[in-house]
């Protein structure tokens, strides 16, 4: 079984978000980059399949050389090989097309993306990739069961969950629940050493035109100070929420 896990290189969750170049570019100064948290849940689930049934796990990222650090981390976590498609991603459609072209060359049985990246927040690459390849897609995936060539999956929906089935190849959008936080694999020394020997191949991008262009970024307007209400005076809080904020 061949598994592809798509990895997005994102700013660490505590990063201060700033822009430079007349608000056209994200300021990477002092920012640490991590594996997108949703992708890490997906990678962990893939490693379980590798350990259980010898599946081969490939990780891929569409990005420039600065993304190699997180690819090495994925290899240290246990992925067998890594691919970097050497281009700066411009939008989700562009990324989905690059990934689709890779998938058309290779035969992956299971393709895992994150539910959403925490930088672009498109929640779009998985669905687009599925649509481009005509593969079934399950977003917000919290459970995966493999039985030969059929899979049973669960999707988190508003107020509950849904159970689905499909035939491989399948694309799933990973999130917490597929594995738990405590299941995440922290690379050990041996893993880190081995990762240096594992293949990381660099592929050239396909010629694709992005569907959208970001003109510039904006930060939210600074907020006024909090209105403090005495703990013994909940009446005032209710009054303010009713008459000033008009939300009750």
């Amino acid at each position: 079984m061949n598994i592809l896990v798509c990895i997005s290189n994102v700013p660490d969750t505590t990063s201060k978000i700033n822009f430079i170049d007349e608000n056209k570019t994200f300021d990477t100064n002092g920012v640490q980059f991590i594996i997108n948290p949703n992708d890490e849940f997906g990678l962990t689930r893939a490693i379980w399949l590798q350990q259980k049934s010898g599946a081969k796990v490939t990780v891929v990222t569409v990005g420039d050389v600065s993304c190699e650090a997180i690819l090495r981390k994925c290899l240290a976590i246990g992925a067998d090989q890594a691919i970097r498609i050497d281009t700066v991603p411009t939008d989700g459609f562009y990324v989905a097309n690059q990934l689709a072209d890779l998938c058309k060359k290779e035969n992956y049985d299971l393709i895992i993306v994150g539910r959403e990246s925490i930088d672009y927040n498109g929640a779009m690459v998985g669905g687009m990739l599925a649509s481009l390849l005509s593969f079934p897609y399950v977003s917000n995936c919290i459970h995966l069961d493999l039985d030969g060539s059929t899979v049973s999956l669960q999707r988190e929906i508003d107020g509950g969950k849904e159970t689905l089935s499909a035939n491989l190849p399948v694309i799933l959008g990973a999130q917490k629940g597929l594995v738990e936080e405590s299941d995440l694999i922290i690379p050990n020394m041996r893993g880190i050493m081995q990762a240096r020997q594992k293949p990381l191949s660099i592929q050239s991008p396909s010629n694709i035109e992005a569907a959208t262009t970001v003109e510039h970024f904006e930060k939210p307007n600074p907020k006024g100070p909090v209105k403090l209400i005495d703990a013994n005076d909940v009446d005032s809080l209710i009054e303010l929420l009713q008459n000033e904020a008009k939300v009750l």
């Binding site: 822009f19 927040n121 929640a123 959208t212």
Partner: protein, 317 residues
């Protein structure tokens, strides 16, 4: 070229998020001097769309396939979009809307914009404002395609009324070759969901343990609110994962968000920031949440909550 909105319904009844995309679609149709088409599935009575300015309704009967089938829904919508020659399509930010959007966009050869927070600032080329970096920033994005699918953030536009008398048509439920099948749905029906709620009441580690959650639940009940929690609370199993909100949990875009015993870590705030009004109750005046909130009480949750619940009960009676 008309605007097409996908209006969601649940058990035959149109959801509030569906009326919001209709209101938003109406505003776009008016600005671009065209008409508004709504597409809905298995809706018993679509007449409420006449309050929100819809000119034409396609109601699609899925004939026994009662589950949301993303591939068939997408194919059905694509065929209406093609027939109507629509250029702008709007879906809501519900779990289903966000699932459908990118698949629909590729199917309809459209650009896709998620998390859109306002009306387009230009139509030629289409330019929208969307949130990114988990609500820590916005970007102005331009479409490079003739057609676009917009996924509108919850509560970003609100409900607007404009009377119309819609023409009612029956839409065709398209087939698909996909092997994907929904086999079961397990939904708690008697509770307000975080996605649908106007008010969300959220508890953090400051509540000390699951045995105290009746306070959160009682407050939510009297307010008709959904309940939520911080990440450690769900990690420790005090509450189900589905209640975890924040950067790595569910996004919240309610009108009112009440956080109790939540410190206000950057990852928590990121996910709830787009809520309109934020209230914090915390016994530590230095808790970072006070910097993000509109209203705050410095106090012990175990003293403040019973009083607050009691007063609200008295008012609501």
């Amino acid at each position: 070229m008309p605007v097409v909105v996908y209006v969601e319904s649940h058990n035959g009844v149109i959801k509030k998020a569906g009326l919001e995309v209709a209101s938003y679609g109406r505003a776009i149709a008016s600005a671009t001097q065209t008409y508004l088409v709504a597409v809905t599935f298995n809706t018993d009575d679509a007449s409420i769309l006449n309050i929100h300015g819809v000119d034409k309704v396609y109601n699609i009967n899925t004939k026994g396939d009662s589950f949301f089938n993303v591939d068939r829904y997408s194919a059905s919508l694509v065929s209406i979009i093609e027939n109507e020659k629509a250029d702008i399509i709007v879906v809501s930010a519900s779990a289903d809307g966000r699932y459908l959007g990118p698949i629909l966009a590729v199917g309809a050869q459209a650009a896709y914009f998620s998390n859109v927070v306002a009306l387009p600032s230009s139509y030629d080329p289409l330019t929208v404002k969307r949130s990114c970096y988990t609500n820590k920033a916005f970007n102005k994005s331009v479409s490079n395609k003739r057609r676009a699918v917009i996924s509108l953030s919850s509560n970003a536009f609100g409900l607007k009324e404009q009377p119309s008398s819609a023409e009612n048509l029956e839409g065709e439920y398209s087939t698909s070759k996909s092997t994907l099948k929904v086999t079961a749905v397990d939904k708690v029906t008697d509770k307000v969901t975080i996605a649908d709620a106007d008010i969300v009441v959220s508890g953090g580690r400051g509540l000390k343990g699951p045995e105290n959650w009746h306070l959160i639940e009682d407050l939510a009940t009297v307010l008709g609110a959904a309940t939520a929690c911080s990440k450690p609370v769900s990690d420790m199993g005090w509450r189900p994962h589905s209640e975890h909100v924040g950067q790595t949990g569910k996004p919240v875009a309610s009108n009112l968000y009440i956080a109790i015993g939540v410190s206000g870590a950057i990852q928590h705030l990121a996910g709830i920031n787009s809520s309109k009004v934020k209230v914090v109750i915390n016994n530590d005046p230095e808790a970072p949440f006070f910097k993000a909130a509109d209203y705050g009480i410095v106090g012990d949750a175990f003293e403040v909550l019973p009083k607050l619940i009691e007063k609200l009960k008295a008012i609501k009676q």
